[in-house]
Symmetry: C2
Subunit: 385 residues, 2 copies
């Protein structure tokens, strides 16, 4: 009997240790009961819901399941089954903005059938929006509407058809004689070319700004930049920048594709002003790092540079890139206030050598899409002016 | 003891009956072992797979699950767990073409995390492609590429922003002085405005046909037509056609939205030839039925009519719609050979009164997207010539 009791205790202890290791926690108990359906739910679905604290409540019918969990923000919240076989669970409050998440059903990690799906965290899966007070600027409104163009094009550097999305402002089709500036805008790690239009609401942000007269009309090109999935061929494989002493080897094939294929395609197929003063690059997180490297390595090609939660440029960076300072109109560096940002001091430092550097801290937000929507909203208003 | 045995037997019988009722069947045993990853899998995912017979093999890691099933084609195939907690199951051979499906984990119906997601069967969820011998015509090729434009627009009839996709041929941006004919192309029941570009590969079909000189360049408008989700307001709610004696009440708000909002928006925002001789309508399944009703109710508005697995027009239909015959250039009616089609005799019948009716039977296909891709491929070659 003692042996059995000991075994049961050992198993319980092991199980608790496993739970801790897997970040399994109970359903959040302190939720205010003002939950509303999440705005990225599938048509007609009530769950998942979000409350005024930013807590997420998921629900799934799984009558024969042993354990169902809500997997969000690095934790797995235990859901509880009712007598109809419906499991319900609530997360602790999440940061405002957009979060990737999934459900775990008896060890299987699956999308929540309640939401529409987004590409992020390296997979197509569920996403949820924790409402913020300033969501208005990215809503679809009855203002002149631009369009998001889905485009395939031939890439010499990869010998394959590549795929991108291009925002054209509302007036583009009405002014066949007019040419426009272009922003090349990149996603983060484990996201893809659809991120900026789907999660980022680029189209709505630009349409609303342009309609309000706060931004000049420009084109936005959103392409796929995940280096390890860009397979350069032939001479193009040799074009990757060699790492500087102390740097990691650079596997960033996106730089080659951008210069070899994307920019020439855009300047051939669309009515753009094809000079540095009308060419901007920006990106979020990994895309901000790519923006930093690519614009410093091509210092006379882009007059506008934006890094959203994607690091900063230093005086040494710019002084080491001949022609960058003379070409540059704006270096924009932003970060969520919850990210421990250095962007304001980095901007101040750059201004001391005469660079028009702008720092922006997104109040109350973390390393997620609401920080980046706000960053685009700010950056767009100073572009090409 | 007898009572217990009786109870156990009763339970077993009830359980077997429940399985039959839910169409639960064993994993298919006769599969040829030449499975390859499905072409709509997420990047890097091996499963689901499809073999040369059209059987589907799914796999899911769910170590604590009691039962995992592959739910496809109206049946649920039992999957089997290995000692790593990975479940594998195989369906019977499926018809060639595109199929919506899901996995069932302990009673929870969830998307397969292996695939990208499509809207159909009333939800965003998994889809799989059973390869056919003639897939070439809808592949992305290195030919001049048109684009799929995502567009929001204000709808007076619903007092809301609506959402559509518009195919523009490759030459559209290069010919600012040229105007183009337009095909209004509708999805089926429980699908949406993305179906024709995502599952239907409209962009690829048209790009490839136009590049080969087999179709003239035209615009395709793909909008959302699910009647019960179109909420007309004010005077527009009264514009729905009244049912004829013997007909069901018609809840098809799409007709009002098409005429009030969609066609005027397209003719205002794009360079189109805005007359009946350069205006076509077609649809699949429910969208074919809508095409039939809308073109008969507006007999001088559309010169080209296509019904893909969407019924047929009769001599009486056309004789009852004053001006239809004089306006019409083509009535195209198609069906998969597995759908018990009447399209060939219906076309013959219409030809007897002088209508240029074309019947098309898609060999070896059923009521799914490969029938409709082939139908578009055929229809596009006779449009606007």
């Amino acid at each position: 009997m003692k042996k059995i009791l000991f075994s049961v205790m050992m198993l319980a202890a092991l199980s608790a240790a496993a739970q801790q290791r897997n970040n399994i926690v109970p359903s959040f108990e302190g939720a205010v009961e003002d939950f509303k359906p999440n705005i990225t739910n599938q048509l007609g679905r009530q769950y998942p819901m979000v409350n005024s604290q930013g807590a997420v409540r998921a629900q799934l019918r799984a009558p024969q399941a042993n354990a169902v969990r809500l997997d969000i923000g690095g934790r797995k919240y235990e859901m509880v089954k009712d007598d109809q076989g419906v499991w319900t669970g609530t997360s602790a409050p999440q940061d405002v903005g957009f979060h990737y998440y999934q459900l775990e059903v008896d060890g299987a990690s699956v999308p929540d059938p309640g939401t529409v799906y987004f590409f992020g965290a390296g997979r197509w899966g569920s996403g949820i929006e924790i409402p913020s007070e300033d969501m208005d600027f990215w809503q679809v409104k009855n203002v002149p509407q631009g369009s998001i163009v889905e485009k395939y094009y031939w890439s010499k550097a990869t010998e394959s058809m590549r795929h991108c999305y291009i925002y054209l402002p509302a007036e583009y089709d009405k002014n066949p004689g007019k040419r426009y500036p272009v922003l090349y805008l990149q996603h983060g790690n484990a996201e893809n070319e659809q991120g900026w239009s789907a999660q980022g609401h680029t189209g709505q942000i630009l349409d609303n700004l342009i309609a309000a007269g706060k931004a000049v009309p420009f084109i936005v090109v959103m392409d796929y930049g995940q280096g390890q999935n860009i397979h350069l061929v032939g001479q193009y494989a040799d074009m990757l920048p060699k790492p500087q002493p102390g740097q990691r080897a650079n596997n960033d094939g996106f730089q080659v594709v951008l210069l070899t294929d994307i920019i020439p395609m855009v300047e051939r197929e669309y009515r753009v002003i094809a000079d540095a003063q009308h060419r901007a690059m920006a990106g979020l997180s990994m895309g901000g790092g790519q923006t930093r490297r690519i614009t410093l390595a091509n210092p006379t090609k882009f007059a506008y540079v934006g890094m959203f939660s994607g690091g900063v440029m230093s005086i040494e960076d710019i002084q080491g890139a001949a022609g960058f300072k003379e070409t540059n109109k704006v270096v924009f560096m932003s970060s969520g206030s919850k990210e421990n940002p250095r962007v304001m001091e980095a901007a101040e430092s750059l201004r001391s050598i005469g660079v028009n550097a702008v720092g922006y801290v997104s109040e109350g937000t973390a390393h997620e899409w609401h920080t980046w929507r706000r960053s685009l909203y700010q950056f767009a208003q100073i572009l090409f002016k």
